[in-house]
Symmetry: C2
Subunit: 229 residues, 2 copies
Amino acid sequence: MAEQIRTVRVPIVERVLEANDDIAAVTRAELARRGIFSIDLIGAPGSGKTALLEATLQQLAERSAPRRRPAVLVGDLATRRDGDRLARWCERVVQISTGEGCHLEAGQVRDALAGVELEGVDLLFIENVGNLICPVGFDLGQNVKVGLFSLTEGDDKAAKHPYLVTAADLILLNKVDLAPYLKFDRAGFEADVRLLNPTVPILEVSATTGAGMDAWFEWIDRGVAGLLE
Amino acid sequence: MAEQIRTVRVPIVERVLEANDDIAAVTRAELARRGIFSIDLIGAPGSGKTALLEATLQQLAERSAPRRRPAVLVGDLATRRDGDRLARWCERVVQISTGEGCHLEAGQVRDALAGVELEGVDLLFIENVGNLICPVGFDLGQNVKVGLFSLTEGDDKAAKHPYLVTAADLILLNKVDLAPYLKFDRAGFEADVRLLNPTVPILEVSATTGAGMDAWFEWIDRGVAGLLE
């Protein structure tokens, strides 16, 4: 019975993904036309996606050059808490409520972007739903995927989430300020990443203390300049 | 286009869930017949599910009374690391590799149980895939669902994951040993839980230091004695 249903389900999922990818391709072309570099930020619940974006938006707003004009879409099942946190630092923030949805889809991103004034925007952050699995398979029209892990999750998470690691254009390792209080095998984590993705950069950051953020900004600036692809 | 596909997809998902629930009902009856109390443990990646079970199995093995005879199923996309960790403390451990699957399904649990010697077993832990969303909707045949949150994930996670909180028979708040190094609004977290689930017990634990584990064992023993339902 289960086998029979599985063969029914696959083609439907493929059709959904196909429709998703069609929408994502339109979004990607539109963002390229406008010169917007876009980042799909994927991480576990509590990995610090919103805290990282808060610190990022704040520093982008305060620094003098190069000037960035960011927009943010943020997905959650429920509440607009993340959107409210981010709106303190950026005028162009849209909260996407997914209900029971475990990931963002291209149609949600397209619809959310329709409500944002994109004139002059050069950088788009898409904070995905907190989940290391389901968001990986859905193209949103982004330029790059960033996989955010945190020290508090343990050093085995790269090996246990190979699809994200393989798909990631950058791995961020957050909460390095908590290293003194945790057991985390940094070399083991990196070895697991390298088996799956030999060339992906790994940057250590702390959204709380600001440690390592310079390298993250440098990477973003290279992305906006079209130097990452 | 997207709307059209959505109306196609729903009935298929419903059929899959229906088949899942049929299998789960058989599993539940079989576990009841054998007098096995079963726990579906759901938490984010890195919330400490495996560490909690390691500490639990070790203490169950070491205490004299009441004696428990546990079995464990553990789901992950990839690697058998969790299974290996748990097998140090329990002879009856099965690792379920879900591939790209973001949650366990009843058929996987049924198949895994077929490989376990259940004679004399009175307690079954099912460690679900690290994910706060997708596992909630799939009945595995368990008696209870335990929602595991950790202090390092932030105090907003109950509000942002209402389906798990609503479905949970117990909320565990792990990693309380890290409280001195984190901002975590304990009262706010509990207020969010109470809005969704007014009566669910909330127990604070640290799998690392053993803090709060006595109340967890007391809850388990009440479950095995049939006093929780």
